[in-house]
Symmetry: D2
Subunit: 349 residues, 4 copies
């Protein structure tokens, strides 16, 4: 019975969507020019421009870590500093990929309770860096996650204030959009309104967690920044010879707004889960705005759920009232019954 339990460990345990598999089959015909000189990759650029309502350059890669690290390597020199939240995926989960790709740039982590950076947090570090001169790495960029690692979502006006401060200080703005679709779905705005219209220079757009098999994209809203990207991608081994298969997955996501429908579904189920938990007396530690629920869960309940085959992570943060924080992630392909099964199991304990 426990096999039927859906995992809440991460949205990357889900399979690929039927539309994505169909797209792979569709492009699997005949011999096609390699390394991106193919019709599907052309089509991807057109679809992305349409989805974001602007001119842009888009490069498919296969993992979020690659997308983030390549983007940061473009924005920060080896002797540069990148300001990010202390919980940022680039800082905590990528085994130093940004340091590798930039050639040794330094991530300078900033703290906040909800995973968001605030414009005023830049003032002191930048002033300090300037005073230190050549002894300090050179401020180069900020990297923000949308949705954040704490499942919260920047509102457009928050983003605008933050990116304006960054730009004022000469910093470029990178957005880690591993869950960008969830953020847009939450905001009910257009992709443009959550990205370049808010001052984002480079977006790494996730699809793998949202229905693809293995596909992410690096999107440059300022073409001049994209200049060296293809050389960096190639020498990192992230230029696929049969690139059409990566492009096809991304095309499938953009078509008919599949990505946004997926994001909406995951969000809705996260909200359902959050409400159910609250009703059962479980306290949430963050606003649930995307597809992640952070909750204080008594160890007894944790143990009971695990015994029944439910999977999820305890979050690496201090306990509150002696209760661990657990993270429960909903996926694009879950159904209400998946949520209700978990809630029912909690009710039983």
């Amino acid at each position: 019975m426990s096999q039927s339990r859906r995992s809440f460990a991460s949205d990357n345990v889900a399979p690929a969507a039927p539309e994505v598999m169909a797209a792979l089959a569709r492009v699997n015909q005949g011999s096609v020019h390699s390394y991106g000189d193919d019709p599907e990759t052309l089509r991807l650029t057109a679809l992305a421009r349409q989805s974001f309502g602007t001119d842009l350059t888009i490069f498919p890669v296969a993992t979020g870590t690659a997308a983030n690290a390549l983007a940061l390597a473009v924005l920060a020199p080896p002797f540069g500093a990148v300001y990010c939240h202390e919980a940022a995926h680039v800082n905590t989960d990528e085994c130093g990929a940004p340091e590798f790709y930039t050639g040794g740039a330094k991530l300078l982590p900033l703290a906040s309770p909800d995973g968001k950076l605030d414009a005023r947090q830049l003032d002191a570090p930048i002033a300090h860096a300037r005073e230190m001169g050549v002894h300090h790495v050179a401020p180069a960029a900020i990297s923000i996650s949308q949705a954040t690692e704490w499942g919260t979502v920047y509102r457009p006006e928050e983003l605008r204030t933050l990116t304006a401060a960054a730009h004022k200080y000469g910093l470029r703005v990178h957005m880690d959009g591993a869950r960008f679709a969830n953020a847009v779905a939450h905001l009910g705005c257009t992709p443009a309104e959550a990205s370049w219209k808010c001052g984002v220079d480079v977006l790494t757009l996730g699809a793998t967690k949202n229905g693809a098999l293995a596909a992410e994209a690096v999107i440059f809203f300022k073409p001049e920044l994209a200049q060296d990207f293809e050389l960096r991608r190639k020498r990192a081994g992230h230029l696929f010879s049969k690139l059409r298969y990566m492009s096809a997955q991304l095309c499938a996501c953009f078509e008919d707004e599949l990505w946004l429908r997926h994001g909406r579904n995951a969000n809705t189920l996260a909200t359902r889960l959050a409400q159910g938990l609250t009703q059962r007396g479980i306290r949430l530690v963050q606003a649930v705005e995307a597809n992640e629920v952070f909750a204080l869960m008594p160890v007894k309940i944790i143990a009971a759920l695990r015994a029944q085959g439910f999977e999820f992570y305890e979050w690496p943060a201090p306990r509150i009232d002696n209760q661990p924080i657990v993270r429960l992630v909903t996926a694009y392909d879950m159904v209400p019954a998946d949520i209700d099964a978990l809630l029912a199991a909690i009710a039983q304990v």
Copy 2:
């Protein structure tokens, strides 16, 4: 009509094999642990061990450049030297990926007419390096291609002599096996007899050119060398969250010796092509032992073929008797008619 022309530009323009596509569909079910903690990845290890008849560690990645660069980063320190043929893919076609991944190691190219290294070519460079001491990068590894970039194939006894010399000098042996299946098919030996039994320490095994969509593998025959590999792969952005899809492609290749059948077919057609060219008075510049044909082709014929939609590369090597060298690559999925169409077009000129 020209649309029906098969491209001879590279074996990476071919689509994926039906068996590979079926494998993707097969594993696309339910939620599965990410990052390789999945049954398909387990199964891959078992299949690879069976195919190579030995204990080994295998890691799937998505591109040959990644596979090569990660392997070399394990074998050579940042201050190391890697000896390779001047035409080696790692030296000429990867935009400095080995230098990036190793942190600045130096590829020291050696020349030979047929793309193979000879054991005696190591003596002088190693003696020189030792005399130079700390002023010279430290000899660390050799990297050899099997089949070579000139379409030739090392015989096992050649390999044994070469790797024995390398090991005597304390060098590790890397084999770039982008076309390893073609080499094994040519030799008519077992995969073991063309790799670890000949002293190969690490093999990067290509599948993308041989029927996969995007899948390569790094295979360590000495488990102690594999120790840091997973950290390096992760921080390079080459650890796929949904790794099962990479593993599934490789499994499909190993099953029922699909990879060797593919290699055999491509080789057979290359031989058919070589014979046809010779009959039509075109001179070959290399023995045709795998799936690549290097031929001296009059510019008039080149132009005529291109006008008819045939695709292939002129090779970056000096002309002979004022004729360019062209490379014609056959693919795993070609049929005799594809070859005959090209030969017929040449006959017409």
Copy 3:
């Protein structure tokens, strides 16, 4: 008059000691083998072994940043983590040199009020790193400063507890000894008792701040760690062709315990300064154990001193009771009158 003010900005503004200059003149004779194959460099090893009472390998370099970064590159792989105090010079003042030299390792800063690390601070980060597996940089080393950046000095028993914890976790121990002579002078112990006998694996020993012109040393107490050092030093451009001049400076420091006498003098004057400040109502924010005094100074006094030509830095730490923290550094060659001049100026305000 203000020209006669001694600067309290740093101990690196002082000139070189007469003994050091004499040593340079002494070795400036005849032609000598380059790159360290010279008698003076041999002599340095002997003197260092005698001073530390043990077998060791010592390499002269010219700057503290080079010494630290080279040492860390030996101890931490590109995918490694180095734990250090958040105020550590390697973390704050070297423009990312450790990241550059290691090839992208990550410094993970830990906080404490007095600049020292405590053994228990390692437990949680190491547990977290292990849980994260390949997603987290691999714990590789700790880097501690003796004396610390807050002018405090680890006691031998503190060091032993800390290094034992580090070694238990498989971490190597690096000591940044830019002010090691001051620490030893404070402790009244032998150099051995403050270094290898307390579990230090690699010491970067400063001389430039302590009477040399430009000379530091990397000292390996475990010879097997030194294996690659010379290659790393060479390719960093830190192997001097005329190495005898670097070695001579260090020899002069070791001879007749010049370094310890220098350290003692600077410490004594720092204590004199600290007492004088306290008597004048200036509060100290750290115990004064080496040659640095951190004091809360009213802005009015700061301004008055600067107007008279006294130089020192405000420390980049939050104000306390609205008063900035200033750092006052005494140097090896100061005399009591230098201190008294500053104290007199404060008394006048």
Copy 4:
């Protein structure tokens, strides 16, 4: 007796000139701002501008390897290509320093019998790089040595043709001037006429081999290229806290044209040596234009000289008529008697 033999192994075995030692003593007074904010470093800029008759930016470092590698890191991105002679010091003697500092750029060696590059040698490699696109490292710079590693000297018109070709292809021009003073002395021109007036963008100027203790300089003739240099130098550990001592050495070299007088003396003695060798039937293999003599020397003579305590290197190049090539280097401080002693010893054999 053999102790009195001057070594012909390298010009870096010589001691420092009295003028350089005097300069060190002169600046060894009082406390001075660190990290280059000192009068001597200011004076260096003025002297260098006067010597080169142009606006320029000059940065002192301590070794030639550091100077070269830092310069190349400014000129070539991590994914860049640097074309140089196969015998270039940066390619053969620096243990991969350029690869380290650039973050993995590739040196692409070109061959010629006399150590010089010819403009036409760039055409084919650049055409090939363009055809290869992202698969090839991006052509970024050329690095030329003046005097060359074969002891020859580019004439200004040769330089102009070469740098014009480089600039046409968008390549920056680096000159390794470890023996620039010797080259200028040979040409009888001004330093300007052998550098920026011939299209050199960045010059690394050697002083250590020419009378300094440890001092080299990186000189930017285009200030916009110097922008990031100070950050790179700092994070490489090549920013000296007591920079005045480096600057003082360079000032001493520029003053009263000491550097050119030194270069002239070494050249004159090399010519004396070359003539003497020829008279004694020893064949030269290169024109002697600077302070290096390359000669074919019978092994019997080599052995006899070494037995008498003379030191010099056999050059790592194939023997001619079964005789090794030896390199004999004269130094700034040699006198005719040093040469004559060697010649007399040869005559005796």
